[in-house]
């Protein structure tokens, strides 16, 4: 089985400069949900169900550091589709479709959302474009019937749901699918020798134009600072008399 894992480089959400409207460029990392997708692909390969894992990211040369990190985790080879435009999810999905049609994997595992733009769209759009089944927000994957189908547990607003999907398919990850491994030093050494292929949209024969423009980004209004109370009695009194919520 061959697995493709698309991953995005995002600004570290714990970097104060992100929340504070950056002066300097914040540190980047692999989108945490994509890291979970990579980890799942590695575990599938480790139990003998996959022969090859291909990582793919769309971005400028600056994302090479995250590509090295994916290779160091254990991805076999990586592709960067060179595009430094601000792409919207539909553009990302259309570019990924061209790549998936070229690579013909049995399954694509990717994050349910990128923690910077929080769109939660690309996987579902990609599945539509390929006319493939999808299982989103997945916390457990098992392959059935000689890997013709996958049984996926999904985290939904109403609790856990189980679906069986025919492969090839798109699976998007939720937090509890696994806990990604740390990159090891030997992994980093090996990563240096692994190939990174660079492709362009022209080479993939996709011409996409983002249909979304970000006009502005601003901080939300701040809440007034809080007060402290010393006892449960005082808390209840405040909630009753001042906030009037009890």
């Amino acid at each position: 089985m061959k697995i493709v894992v698309p991953f995005k480089s995002v600004a570290d959400p714990n970097d104060a400069t992100v929340a504070g409207a950056a002066a300097s460029a914040p540190k980047s990392l692999i989108n945490p949900f994509d890291e979970i997708a990579i980890e799942e692909a590695l575990r599938i390969r480790e139990r003998g169900d996959a022969a090859e894992i291909v990582g793919v990211t769309i971005g400028a040369p600056a994302v090479d550091e995250q590509i090295r990190a994916a290779l160091a985790m254990g991805v076999d080879r990586a592709i960067r589709i060179d595009d430094s435009r601000a792409l919207d999810p539909y553009a990302v999905a259309r570019i990924l479709r061209a790549l998936i049609e070229k690579e013909t994997p049995h399954v694509v595992i990717m994050g349910k959302q990128a923690v910077d733009d929080d769109s939660n769209q690309v996987g579902q759009m990609l599945a539509a474009l390929l006319h493939w089944p999808q299982a989103t927000f997945v916390s457990k994957i098992e392959f059935l019937e000689n890997k013709r189908r996958a049984r996926c547990t999904r985290e939904t607003d109403g609790g856990l749901e189980v679906v069986a999907i025919e492969l090839p398919a798109i699976i998007t990850t939720d937090l509890r699918l696994n806990e990604p491994r740390y990159v090891s030093l030997p992994g980093l050494m090996r990563a240096r020798r692994k190939p990174i292929e660079i492709l362009t949209c022209d080479e993939l024969r996709v011409a996409v134009r983002p249909l979304t423009t970000v006009l502005s980004i601003a901080s939300p209004p701040k809440r007034a600072a809080g007060t402290r109370v010393d006892s449960v009695e005082e808390l209840i009194a405040k909630l009753k008399q001042e906030a009037k919520v009890l």
Binding site: P13, A19, F33, P89, A93, K112, V115, D116, D118, N120, Q121, Q124, M125, A127, A128, P133, Q134, T136, S139, R154, E155, T156, D157, G158, G159, L160, E161, V162, V163, A164, I165, L175, R176, R209, L211, T212, T213, V214, L215, S216, I217, A218, S219, P220, R223, A224, A225, G226, R228, V229, D230, S231, V232, E233, L235, I236, L239, A243, V245, L246
Partner: protein
């Protein structure tokens, strides 16, 4: 036509109330709007929707739609939008709408905006405000196309009034034989809770990592929620540790809530959690760390002492 098609979510018995908030966004967009429901055996659900001022309640009712499988649902939604020539398809943010609507958007060949908080019309073009980076920033975006798919944050739009004259209920006919067949529903865990729904409750009590185990969590967080007639939520840390089920998770990648009163017990206030509670009217924190970032009204102290006192005080009235 300048019609908006509003996807309404239900649990087979009732309409999910937060999904009605999308109607308020449809009203702000202007023009007519129709409500779309998919499933099987929808007569009662459709009948409950006729007074929301829509031009019609459009019903796709078929055994093939018994379970909300994304490939089939997206196909039917896209087909309905195409046949009706709807300019906008919108839903209220939930795991259901986030599963099916991006798929429908791609089938319709249109872009989508997730989690719309507000819209603004200027010089004939619409811009959308939405949270990014776990809600620590607000982005204003614009689309290059007239046609669009949107999801509305339920907490940012009021519930609509249901006081209009009854509209017609229309059956949407589609070709069942041509629906995709690659997904099969297996099961869903059915948990009956006597507590109010997390996304609808006026009071929500959330618990975090130091609650330690399921029993303590239920006794303290559940006990306080029951004393206040509220719902129970949890942080990712509490869900990961098995103290609470996944659908209790509140935050950037869980549920977004805006109750009148939120009480966080043993919760530090990571941005990913705050993303889901920011718009609560009153935020109360019970934490032993006076520097924990989460509080408006905070009681500093050990939750194992404070919470039982709180529950007791409520019992005494």
């Amino acid at each position: 036509m300048v019609e908006t098609l509003v996807l309404i979510e239900h649990d087979r018995h009732c309409v999910k109330r937060p999904s009605l908030h999308g109607i308020t966004l449809a009203r702000q967009l202007g023009g007519e709007y129709a409500l779309l429901v998919l499933g099987q055996g929808l007569d009662e659900i459709a009948a409950s929707l006729v007074s929301y001022g829509a031009s019609a309640v459009v019903v796709a009712d078929d055994p093939a739609l018994t379970e909300p499988l994304a490939d089939r649902y997206a196909t039917v939604i896209a087909e309905a939008a195409r046949k009706r020539d709807s300019r906008t398809v919108l839903g209220t943010s939930s795991t259901f709408s986030k599963d099916v609507l991006p798929r429908a958007a791609a089938l319709l060949d249109v872009p989508m905006v997730t989690d719309v908080l507000a819209i603004e019309e200027k010089n004939g073009s619409t811009s959308y405000r939405r949270p990014v980076n776990a809600g620590s920033m607000l982005a204003t975006v614009k689309l290059e196309t007239d046609r669009r798919v949107l999801t509305a944050r339920a907490t940012a739009f009021e519930a609509p009034a249901a006081d209009a004259a009854a509209c017609p209920i229309e059956r949407f006919e589609f070709d069942v034989a041509s629906l995709p067949n690659g997904m099969e529903f297996i099961s869903r865990d059915q948990r009956i809770s006597g507590r109010p729904d997390l996304t609808e409750a006026a009071v929500v009590v959330c618990g975090g990592r130091p609650l330690k185990d399921k029993e303590t969590f239920e006794r303290l967080v559940g006990g306080l929620a029951d004393g206040l007639g509220g719902a129970v939520g949890a942080t990712r840390a509490a869900v990961d540790a098995g103290m609470a089920p996944n659908d209790y998770q509140v935050g950037q990648t869980g549920k977004v809530i805006a109750p009148q009163l939120y009480i966080g017990i043993g919760i530090s206030g990571a941005i990913q959690h705050l993303a889901g509670i920011k718009d609560s009217r009153v935020i109360v924190a019970i934490n032993k760390d006076p520097d924990a970032p989460i509080f408006q009204v905070a009681t500093i102290g050990d939750l194992h002492q404070i919470v039982p006192q709180f529950i007791d005080a409520l019992r005494r009235g």
